[in-house]
C-alpha cells in the first residue's frame, strides 16, 4: 500500500534553532550592554570579557571532559548567553577572580553537572551570581558611580587592568550603594522610605541607568526595548515578564499606599535592581521555566512575589536572583499540575472528538 504524503510535517517549517534563538537574545542585549560599557568605562568592558570568555572556556572544558563534541555544542551560543547574562548581573568593576568563580559555578556546577544544556534545573547565570554573592559579599556589593568613557572619573585602559586583574583597591569615593541597597540601609537606621526615596536615584535616572548598580541592570529603558524586541520576534511570550513585573508593581503600589514609610512604591520596584532584566531575559529561560502559558503566569507571579518579599523583608537588598532560583525549583511541580495540552488531545489527555471542524 502506498501512502501519499503531500504535506510536510508541522515541525519542519520554522527556521528556529537553538543558535538562532541565542543570536536573537544576544542581539536584544547588545544595546544595553554597549551603553553600560560606555557608562562604566574600561573596567566594565574587561569584566564583561573575562566573564563571557570564562564561561565559554569552561563550557569547552566540560564538553571535552564528558567526551562530547566541543565545536558544534559551543556554536549554539548558550555558553555565551550564560556568560553574558552573568556579566550583566555582576558589579561593573568586579575583580576577575570573582567573575571566574561565578563562571565555574554557572557552567560546571549548575549546567554540566546536571547534564548540559536542557538538563539543568536551575538558571546557570543566576546560580553563578548567587554563589559569588554569598561567597564574596564585599566585592559583590561594591558598586561604582557611572563615569562615562572619556570623562574625568573614567579610568584608562591600563588602570582598568589594575582594577580588574590587580589588587588596586577601589577608592571609597568612587563606590556607591545601589538604589535598593541605599533604601535598605537607610531604613535600617530608622530613616523612613518616604524620606530616603527622595535622595535615592529618581525614576529618570533609573530608566537611563545613570546610577550605581550591577553592570547590566541599571539601564532599565534599553533592557525593556530589548525585551520587547524578543516578544516581537516571538522568542519569548509576554506571559512571564508581564506576570513578574505586574506582581511586583501591584505589591509595591498597594503596600506603599498603606505605609509609605516602610514600603517602596511600585514604579521604584519596577525600575530598580534587576526587575526588567530578570523579567525579560532571565526568568524566561526555556529550560528552567514552565512549558504551558498558564504555568508561566503562575511562575512569573511567584518570581514577582518572592522578589518583593526578599527585597522588603530579607537581608539582601535585591531578591530577583533568589526568586528565580526558588521558582526554578518549583517549575517541575508547576509543569506537573498545569500540563500543556498534548497535540490532538484535550487537557485531560482524552483524544479530541473527531470531525468537529468538518460540519
Amino acid at each position: 500500500m502506498r501512502i501519499a504524503v503531500d504535506k510536510s510535517g508541522p515541525f519542519t517549517h520554522a527556521p528556529t534553532s537553538v543558535s538562532r534563538t541565542m543570536t536573537l537574545v544576544l542581539a536584544a542585549l547588545l544595546p544595553a550592554t554597549l551603553y553600560d560599557i560606555w557608562l562604566f568605562g574600561w573596567p566594565a568592558a574587561l569584566m564583561f570579557l573575562v566573564t563571557v570568555l570564562s564561561c565559554v572556556g569552561l563550557e569547552a572544558l566540560c564538553l571535552y571532559l564528558s567526551k562530547r563534541p566541543v565545536g558544534p555544542t559551543l556554536a549554539d551560543g548558550s555558553a555565551v548567553l550564560t556568560g553574558w547574562l552573568l556579566a550583566m548581573s555582576m558589579p561593573p568593576w568586579a575583580p576577575w577572580w570573582v567573575c571566574f568563580v561565578a563562571a565555574v559555578f554557572a557552567i560546571c556546577l549548575a549546567k554540566h553537572a546536571f547534564g548540559g544544556l536542557g538538563q539543568n534545573v536551575f538558571n546557570p547565570a543566576m546560580v553563578g551570581r548567587i554563589a559569588v554573592l554569598v561567597s564574596f559579599p564585599l566585592q559583590m556589593t561594591t558598586f561604582v558611580r557611572p563615569a562615562p568613557l572619556g570623562s574625568a572619573g573614567s579610568p584608562g585602559l591600563i588602570d582598568s587592568i589594575g582594577i580588574i586583574f590587580g589588587h588596586s583597591p577601589m577608592l571609597d569615593s568612587l563606590s556607591a550603594a545601589s538604589a535598593l541597597g541605599y533604601i535598605k540601609t537607610e531604613l535600617s537606621r530608622g530613616i523612613p522610605v518616604s524620606q530616603s526615596i527622595l535622595t535615592a536615584p529618581d525614576l529618570t535616572s533609573l530608566a537611563l541607568g545613570t546610577h550605581a548598580g550591577s553592570f547590566g541592570e541599571t539601564s532599565a529603558f534599553l533592557i525593556l526595548l530589548g525585551g520587547l524586541f524578543l516578544i516581537a520576534k516571538r522568542v519569548i511570550s509576554w506571559h512571564i515578564p508581564v506576570a513578574v513585573m505586574g506582581t511586583l508593581f501591584l505589591l509595591g503600589t498597594v503596600f506603599s499606599a498603606i505605609n509609605p514609610d516602610r514600603f517602596t512604591p511600585g514604579t521604584f520596584q519596577l525600575l530598580s535592581g534587576a526587575t526588567i532584566l530578570g523579567a525579560f531575559f532571565i526568568a524566561t529561560d526555556y529550560v528552567t521555566s514552565p512549558v504551558s502559558k498558564s504555568g508561566q503566569l503562575v511562575y512569573g507571579f511567584g518570581i514577582g512575589f518572592l522578589t518583593w518579599v526578599i527585597r522588603t523583608f530579607a537581608g539582601y537588598p535585591e531578591g530577583m536572583a533568589f526568586a528565580v532560583l526558588l521558582m526554578n525549583a518549583l517549575t517541575p511541580i508547576i509543569d506537573h499540575h498545569i500540563r500543556p495540552r498534548a497535540f490532538g488531545r484535550t487537557r485531560k489527555g482524552e483524544p479530541l472528538p473527531l470531525n468537529r471542524g468538518n460540519k
Binding site: F136, P137, L138, T141, T142, D172, T185, S188, R189, G315
Partner: protein
C-alpha cells in the same frame, strides 16, 4: 498480660535501670567539674573587659541588677579592690545587619571604657564579623574612651560624622556597635551612684 510481654518489658526495664544508674553516677562525678568550668568561662570572658589588675574580688559573683532606660533588668558585674568599686561590666545590645549584636562592656569608676567584647552576633562572615576581637582589632579602639575625652557628637561612625571607622562594605554593623556603646555609657552615667556604692 502474656508471659512474653513481661519478658520484653523486664528486659527493657532492666536496661533502663542499669544505664540510668550509670548516668546518675557519671553526672554526680562530673557535676562539680562542669560548674567550675562554666564559672571559669565566665570569669575569662569578664576578665577581657575587667582586667584582673583592678580587682581583688570575683566579679562573676558580685552582681547587682539595675533597670536600664527601657526599664529592663541588666545584670551588672562589679570589680572591687579593697572594698572600693573599680569597674563594672554589663551586657549591651546593638542592632546589626542581621539581628541583635550582644556585647559585654567594661567601664571603670570614672566612666572610661576598659574594654568591649562581642558575645553573640549574626553578622555576615567576612563583612560584619570584623567586630570580633579575633577577626580584627577594630573593637579595641574603644579602650580608654569616655564621654569626658570624646565629645558626644563624635560617638558615631565616620559616615555619620563621627570618629569611628566603618568597614568597607559594611556600615550597619559598626553603626550598631557604636550606638550600643554610646547607650551603654549613658546607662553608666544614669546609674553611676548605684553601681559604685560599696557592696
Amino acid at each position: 498480660m502474656s508471659r512474653a510481654t513481661w519478658i520484653h518489658a523486664s528486659i527493657l526495664g532492666a536496661f533502663c535501670l542499669g544505664f540510668g544508674i550509670v548516668l546518675a553516677v557519671t553526672d554526680q562525678q562530673t557535676n562539680d567539674d562542669i560548674k567550675q568550668r562554666i564559672l571559669e568561662d565566665k570569669e575569662r570572658s569578664l576578665s577581657q573587659v575587667l582586667p584582673t589588675a583592678i580587682h581583688d574580688n570575683s566579679p562573676v559573683t558580685d552582681t547587682i541588677i539595675l533597670k536600664d532606660a527601657k526599664g529592663e533588668d541588666v545584670t551588672v558585674y562589679r570589680a572591687t579592690k579593697g572594698g572600693q568599686v573599680t569597674g563594672v561590666a554589663y551586657t549591651i545590645v546593638g542592632t546589626g545587619y542581621a539581628g541583635p549584636i550582644r556585647l559585654m562592656l567594661g567601664v571603670d569608676a570614672e566612666g572610661k571604657i576598659l574594654g568591649v567584647r562581642v558575645i553573640t552576633h549574626k553578622e555576615t562572615p567576612g563583612l560584619g564579623d570584623k567586630i570580633q576581637v579575633d577577626k580584627g582589632d577594630w573593637i579595641l579602639r574603644f579602650n580608654g574612651l569616655s564621654f569626658a575625652n570624646t565629645p558626644l557628637e563624635k560617638w558615631k561612625v565616620k559616615k555619620d560624622g563621627g570618629q569611628f571607622d566603618q568597614f568597607s562594605g559594611a556600615t550597619i554593623t559598626p553603626r550598631g556597635v557604636v550606638g550600643a556603646i554610646r547607650e551603654g555609657l549613658h546607662f553608666f552615667d544614669a546609674q553611676k551612684s548605684k553601681m559604685l556604692e560599696a557592696g
